[in-house]
Symmetry: C2
Subunit: 114 residues, 2 copies
Amino acid sequence: MTFQGADRDPERPVYVISVAAGILSCHPRTLRIYEEEGLVCPARTPTNIRLYSENDVRRVMWIRHLTQNLGVNLAGVRILFELEERLGTRILERLYSEASSDADAERAPATVAK
Amino acid sequence: MTFQGADRDPERPVYVISVAAGILSCHPRTLRIYEEEGLVCPARTPTNIRLYSENDVRRVMWIRHLTQNLGVNLAGVRILFELEERLGTRILERLYSEASSDADAERAPATVAK
DNA sequence: AAGTCTTGACAATGGGACTGTCAGGTTTCT
DNA sequence: AGAAACCTGACAGTCCCATTGTCAAGACTT
């Protein structure tokens, strides 16, 4: 009687680090660094295993976009995330629409259709 | 009949590069790099000499603060400046009040009393 | 038991930021 | 006119960051 849709809560922790790294095509080491830097906070199992939610993965996609495509460093990413939280605005999406109009219009980290 | 205050227009180009570098305690080379990167656009005399206004200097103070104190790179600075222009908000000042509450509460680049 | 996870450490590579200098030429000041 | 400061472009050195990669010793899952 449980809808499958109910399990699709984007906040639900589902991906173990190796899986998340696979989705994001980056090294697990990199994800741990992002966490050490306070840029992403995956949930943990009662036995301390990292579990990334869909939102966590999207957040990392933003980090990757900002660093790889726009050349921003982690300190800059932190400021942007802080700013977004402080302003309560989706400044990053706005930012992406600007940047993508310039060059890379490949895969959008947030609004992805796939 | 000209008020002295009228000459204090913060947009008026007044500082030659060596003077600006002195005020900002950085290498003239650095200021030229910021200009190449499109982060600051000092006026030019009819004979091509750079002249920095008070606002130009303040802008560079922001660049210095973001890079030296917060560790943001020039790509991040560019994004923040773009964002501020797009949003039409003084997000940087808001940012500073957050950052200064943490550590350095020395001289504020924008809201300076002197 | 095998495989994957944990943390902590160490290292290598590549790139960015900044300073610094040199050269050849123009402008400004005294 | 001569000295000093400006211009552009190039090159180089130093330091730090981002990322990947590995190793070790231990815990968890199947």
